[in-house]
């Protein structure tokens, strides 16, 4: 990083970002060649864009956490719990504009919980969030055994209809009939990326996070409140996961406690890694995170259109990640040599 600047800037690490841009272009090209009519229709592209935005929201959180040397495996379960919790609150008569901040606050509390366990009790992030992964899924399934749907909600609470339609239009871009007018989730992701980018690349906190990711001890000796900083990043990650839960519910119109958000933490982590973050910590730039998050939804869409059995999706994802990692490693090595 540092041969480009003091600390990573938006455009630093262009090499690995160029790699993911190339991959995206390749995938779009393949999509076009597979089925120019349907797959490259405005409708499908909008759809893909929307999903890419959704994953970018999750990826941004975990990617910043990865920069500081942390990890969060509970994202998918937090998504599930937030989606189910939101639906249930609405059904029980809590107004959407109240339920929304409550769910987000829940995300903050979960993040604080993770962060405190990791920094105060010095437990390993992997373990803490692994426990979280099981626990939050368990809570969601305990709250309800059957899926909660938007149609149920509006049947029981007809007065919420207009508020929910507004939320859906602004956050998802879907109109009352459920037609996707504009991929608003991507807009949400870009706004978040801008804000997070300013913090990561412009503020003192971003500096602290890179320093902690590289060498926490040196950061501590430099007088940085490393525990406090790490805590905030856990909060950010879980906050964005709970926002993801809201988006999921509003987008799909239903949340199933058993599988809403399932294994999406792995999608988010994959996005971060494809976007140039190193699991060793200290490396990554914000544009890369968004671009990295765009790969998997596109890949899934491509597999669907190529009329390959959707069962191969995990295999394709695994291979993409492996090849991407190898390519990046080779690239870094060749750059180090010169």
């Amino acid at each position: 990083m540092s041969d480009s600047d003091y600390a990573p800037r938006w455009w630093s690490n262009l090499g690995s970002v160029a790699g993911v841009v190339g991959l995206l272009l390749l995938l779009y090209l393949t999509l076009y060649l597979t089925d120019p009519e349907n797959a490259f229709s405005k409708r499908n592209l909008k759809d893909v864009f929307s999903r890419q935005g959704y994953y970018a929201v999750l990826t941004l959180g975990v990617a910043v956490l990865i920069i500081t040397g942390g990890i969060d495996l509970s994202i998918g379960s937090v998504v599930g719990l937030s989606a189910v919790g939101f639906g249930l609150m609405l059904r029980e008569g809590c107004h959407p504009y109240l339920a929304l901040p409550i769910v987000l606050a829940g995300g903050v509390i979960i993040g604080l919980f993770h962060g405190l366990l990791v920094t105060q009790l010095q437990l390993q992030p992997f373990l803490v969030t692994l426990c979280g992964m099981f626990a939050y899924r368990g809570i969601a399934r305990w709250l309800t055994e059957t899926p909660v749907g938007l149609t149920d909600v509006t049947r029981i609470q007809p007065s919420f209809q207009s508020a929910l339609e507004t939320l859906r239009l602004f956050l998802i871009g879907k109109n009352a009939t459920g037609y996707l007018e504009f991929p608003m989730q991507m807009v949400v992701a870009l706004v978040l990326a801008l804000l997070i980018g300013i913090v990561v690349h412009g503020s003192v906190y971003g500096r602290y996070w890179y320093a902690i990711g590289y060498n926490e001890q040196a950061a501590r000796y430099a007088g940085i409140a490393t525990k406090q900083q790490r805590l905030w990043v856990y909060v950010l990650c879980s906050f964005l996961a709970s926002l993801g839960g809201l988006l999921l519910f509003l987008d799909r119109g239903t949340a199933d406690p058993t599988n809403a958000g399932e294994s999406q933490e792995l999608y988010a982590i994959t996005g971060a890694v494809l976007g140039g973050c190193s699991l060793r910590g200290g490396v990554g730039v914000v544009p890369g995170m968004v671009l990295g998050a765009m790969v998997l939804p596109l890949l899934e869409n491509l597999v669907n259109f190529a009329q390959i059995k959707s069962a191969v999706i995990p295999l394709v994802i695994g291979l993409t990640l492996l090849v991407g990692t190898i390519a990046d490693e080779q690239f870094q090595r060749s750059r180090r040599k010169t």
């Binding site: 990083m1 540092s2 041969d3 480009s4 600047d5 003091y6 600390a7 300013i198 412009g202 503020s203 003192v204 906190y205 500096r207 602290y208 890179y210 320093a211 590289y214 060498n215 001890q217 040196a218 950061a219 501590r220 000796y221 430099a222 007088g223 940085i224 409140a225 200290g282 010169t338």
Partner: protein
């Protein structure tokens, strides 16, 4: 007879730097050759080429009158060359014995390759004895050792190889007098076993003591040499720096300020420290040297005062006021700064740039609305780089790629932008060349003159004698005595350091 080792017109460049520009060198069997030069002169690079870590861009290596080529460290080891790095390379979570035989484990049971622990332990004990480390350390994790002890483990490891040329890159920079003396004995025994020793050091008294010949480098070129009879301090400085250097230990007329001491430690106990509480103070405007053997607990005490180690009992007062210190932030807020000893783990974020490191502790003052002001940051960075003469192609260079001494200057420079009440320096000039050393001493002198209380922990006897107004000596964690400037001499310090009395 051809020389054992010959280097001919070696050239090596890195992006933005020509590290070696046609350097030549010869060494005979059983000769101890000291390589000297300023920070960044190319000494370590040359040694790494000999050890097969770097491949030269141009030039040749000859051994026993035949040209050789090393593609990697293994090739060099096969040829009998081994290098003890300037920066330690041990596996921290393995025991001393395991580190000594890492990669060359003794095994029994043929293809089963069971570890032969008893044999390794026995040989390890013999090696530890040779370098003067206490036997119980053999089973201790390396991570728990003091830097000086780690250094001795590295030396022991090199001794266990069938070495014809042993290269030591600043082996003594974290050793105290006693361990250094032990090392001289090791070197003497190697010499009589006709092992060639190439020895890099910035401690010129040491060079004079143990080298048969001196070779100087300057800016990646040969800058001349000295035979045994010609070796003296001034001659070496002239070769390295290219000019005379006056007033090595600057001392303005300092008078420690009356009134409250800058730092006062009362009946203090800390985690991992001795049971017996410690009392110690540093007056404003005073430089207190702290001497002791490696592992005497000086670093630990400093860490407790800086909030890294938990204080279990007692009181810390800064400028007369009792302060509560539980984290480095609190220590800094109270006006205490620490320049840590271990630059790779505590002092620097190695993978980040020089500029990043220089500004890390100062960011709150280099920012507005919490956003870093890059222009201000570079201005401050450039200023520090100039003031300390940090040799780097740019502030954007990764700090881990600088030469050791230049890294140390960055560690020191991080804190210069502040005005502390108490400045704790733990081995402040470790690996720093004579010119820059006198610069750092001048800065210390100036800070003390401005009323800063300086507490300097140092294993460099010359430095302790030259800079201190008062010396406190630690032995196994507790203070064995204090010496005023008038009573300072090497014997008195050594007596206290080994647990004797004044």
């Amino acid at each position: 007879m051809p020389p054992l080792l010959e280097v001919r017109a070696i050239r090596k460049r890195f992006p933005g730097v020509i590290a070696l520009d046609g350097v030549s060198l010869q060494a005979d069997a059983g000769e101890v050759v000291a390589i000297i030069g300023e920070n960044g002169a190319g000494k370590s690079t040359l040694m790494k080429i000999l050890a097969g870590i770097y491949v030269p861009d141009e030039g040749e290596l000859w051994m026993d009158g035949r040209p050789v080529q090393f593609r990697d460290v293994n090739d060099a080891m096969q040829a009998g060359i081994s290098l003890i790095h300037q920066e330690l390379n041990l596996v921290e979570n393995l025991s001393v014995a395991a580190n000594l035989f890492l990669g060359r484990e003794r095994t029994v049971g043929g293809a089963l390759r069971w570890l032969d622990r008893t044999a390794m332990r026995r040989q390890a004990l013999a090696l530890l004895e040779r370098v003067g480390l206490p036997a119980p350390l053999v089973d201790v994790e390396v991570g728990r050792l003091a830097p000086g002890q780690k250094q001795l483990v590295e030396i022991a490891r090199a001794l266990s190889l069938q070495t014809r040329v042993l290269i030591m890159d600043e082996p003594t920079s974290s050793l105290t007098q006693r361990e250094t003396d032990r090392l001289y004995e090791v070197i003497d025994s190697l010499r009589s076993a006709s092992v060639t020793v190439l020895y890099i050091s910035h401690r010129l008294a040491e060079v004079k003591r143990c080298a048969d010949r001196v070779v100087a480098l300057r800016d990646g070129k040969n800058a001349g040499g000295l035979s045994k009879a010609e070796i003296d301090h001034d001659a070496m400085v002239r070769l390295m720096v290219g000019r005379e250097l006056k007033q090595y230990y600057p001392r303005s007329e300092r008078v420690p300020r009356a009134g409250f001491p800058a730092l006062e430690i009362r009946d203090l106990c800390y985690e991992g420290g001795p049971k017996q509480p410690i009392n110690f103070s540093v007056r404003a405007g005073e430089i207190v040297g702290m001497a002791g053997l490696v592992g005497a607990g000086r670093t630990e005490l400093a860490e407790a005062i800086f909030g890294i180690r938990r204080i279990t009992q007692g009181e810390v007062r800064v400028a007369g006021k009792a302060v509560r210190i539980r984290s480095p932030q609190q220590a800094m807020a109270a006006g205490i700064l620490l320049v840590p000893e271990d630059r790779r783990h505590h002092g620097l974020v190695l993978q980040a740039s020089v500029g990043f490191n220089l500004s890390l502790p100062n960011l709150p003052r280099l920012s507005r609305f919490r956003l870093v002001q890059r222009a201000k940051e570079s201005a401050v960075g450039e200023e520090l780089r100039r003031r300390l003469r940090i040799k780097t192609p740019s502030l954007r260079q990764t700090v881990g790629l600088l030469s050791g001494g230049n890294q140390q200057k960055v560690v020191f420079g991080k804190w210069l932008a502040r005005q502390p009440t108490v400045l704790i320096l733990d081995e402040p000039t470790r690996g720093v060349d004579v010119g820059a050393k006198s610069e750092i001493y001048a800065l210390m002198d100036q800070l003390a003159g401005e009323g800063v209380g300086i507490w300097m922990i140092s294993s460099d006897m010359e430095e302790v004698l030259g800079m201190s107004d008062r010396v406190a000596v630690l032995h196994e964690g507790h203070l064995t005595g204090e010496l005023q400037r008038a009573e300072l001499n090497e014997e008195a310090i050594m007596r206290l350091a080994t647990g004797g009395s004044k």
